[in-house]
Symmetry: C2
Subunit: 328 residues, 2 copies
């Protein structure tokens, strides 16, 4: 069976499903950032999306399409935090019971928000238990549907609405994107974004940004096949720790990407401080990866027009305080 493909039409259909439910997030520009980089950077604020991250888009698009019986039996997902919140809120809005499997060391702000949206949360130990096995067991017992974080055409199409909006909003301010950057973990956002952008501007150069040590996408693109890395420990970017590109997302990324670059924890923290001090935005470590790559000069942007996705803003106050005080 060939892998289901995701098309611009799928993304446009997703956009109609989430219209009036998801936030059409603003595309902003910072003269200070433009001046610093010698480029024009259009910043897509997915930090202002419902649940504080783009993940709501895909989750809602996926859950909306469940039939009545499946809605009654409920959904199960596993996630360190943002997908958890996206599924929990989409489920609440659609009246679907949801259970989320979350690691015991997930950021507290993400766990609390997931519970706040009315989902059950099942904690597990990242080192000794398999979240896939736990989710599968619960789903099988309840007849519930497992909602993947990225490897699902409806999830990819939902996240792709970020790209549709970005293209339309850029055109509205007379900008033609030479380049786009987004954080990447499993690749749902970047796959959807790249389909939406390439369909409208085939020459746009698209880059994924990973945490150093979790550069499975870069390695996979070089190898021409999906390569799994052995995690070197934890990354500050808790949302970007996937060890291998998705089965569905990788072929899309392979086709559409110029490449992938990596940023260190220190560079992500520096980007968070820049977002705080110069942009007045709260960005979580993983959400700041694209900005970190720009500030660290990982991608050549001089005199170019760049679309940048700030993908999430869910960060524990204690961690944020340490970052802005320069302790991280």
């Amino acid at each position: 069976m060939p892998a289901p493909s995701v098309t611009l039409a799928d993304i446009e259909a997703a956009a109609r499903r989430i219209a009036g439910i998801a936030v059409e997030t603003p595309l902003i520009e910072s003269p200070a950032l433009n001046e610093r980089l010698g480029a024009r950077v259009l910043i897509k604020l997915e930090t202002l999306q419902r649940v504080g991250a783009f993940k709501f888009r895909g989750a809602y698009n996926r859950l909306f399409q469940l039939d009545v019986g499946a809605r009654r039996r409920g959904v199960v997902a596993f996630s360190s935090g943002n997908h958890a919140q996206g599924v929990a809120l989409a489920a609440r809005l659609l009246g679907i019971p949801a259970l989320i499997v979350m690691p015991s060391d997930a950021p507290e702000v993400k766990v609390a928000a997931t519970l706040g949206y009315g989902a059950e949360v099942h904690r597990y130990d990242r080192l000794t238990e398999s979240r896939e096995a736990i989710a599968a067991a619960i789903a099988s017992e309840r007849g519930a549907v497992v909602v993947p974080a990225f490897d699902d055409p409806h999830i990819i199409a939902g996240q792709g609405t970020v790209g549709l909006e970005l293209a339309r909003q850029a055109a509205a301010v007379g900008a033609h994107l030479d380049l786009a950057l987004a954080p990447v973990s499993g690749g749902g956002l970047l796959a959807g974004l790249s389909i939406a952008l390439k369909a409208q501007a085939p020459d746009v150069e698209i880059w994924g940004v990973e945490p150093a040590g979790f550069d499975d996408l870069r390695q996979s693109l070089e190898a021409g096949r999906r390569v799994a890395i052995t995690p070197p420990g934890r990354s500050l970017c808790d949302a970007l720790e996937s060890p291998v590109p998705g089965e569905l997302t990788f072929p899309i990324l392979q086709r559409n990407l110029a490449g992938a670059v990596a940023v260190t924890d220190a560079e992500a923290a520096e980007a968070m401080r820049y977002a705080f001090g110069a942009l007045k935005l709260v960005v979580e470590p993983g959400g700041s990866a694209g900005l970190a790559a720009l500030l660290a000069g990982r991608v050549e942007v001089a005199s170019r027009t760049v679309g940048l996705v700030l993908s999430g803003g869910n960060v524990d106050p204690e961690l944020f305080a340490r970052v802005i005080r320069g302790e991280l």
Copy 2:
């Protein structure tokens, strides 16, 4: 001599002068905030304005209209921070020398930014020295123009562009404002905003929000004349400590406002935490006053459409860290 009046036409002229120079800041909506208040709140992000506060608008509009000779002789301003930065950046962009008189206890982030924009900074002791006298002496010595923070028709017209944009952006999303709130100190923003909004929707109810203990506007509105308060000490809202409404701004506010309400330091801090956690926005204490009034229930908004200005986001990391950790 009658006080110069400010008209919608003046604000529209200011909008043309700042077009492409100032940021047209986004108007956003948070489903979470709407749900909490049972209202529709359209949030104008002046935190994303150049220099991190609306003050750039008025400063640029004022400085742009100086003639060649005046531009050469330079400008002087006194300000605890945001007007300082607004004047400093506008002066740099227009090639005008600027000197800013700032209190020795101004937030470091505001002093550093003012210096960063290339202005000279003269520090003074808030308790023993008069900033007006210092600024007047320096201006007289240099033949420089003193740029007031609020009591100037061009400053008021410049700040009024916030209201023009707010009205246009609200209309673009099909909203009719029942109510608008903004922080108020000397009254430049609120005066300009109220002229712009009332000209287009005479029935809109406009409220100013002051820090508790600095409720000179509320007292003045009640007395029907400008009342000066004796500052009870410092407010967390360092940008809102003016002890008396402006001579030009007060008659405008008297004509256009439904009233003024006050928020405590604790309520301002709570609003900053809400902006951090739920909105993913960095807002300084004074900039959060309007949000604080909404969260504290100071103004009746149930089932209404509200325009809310978040007026600034310049806050020292140390203070922000203490606020989000709940230490303030």
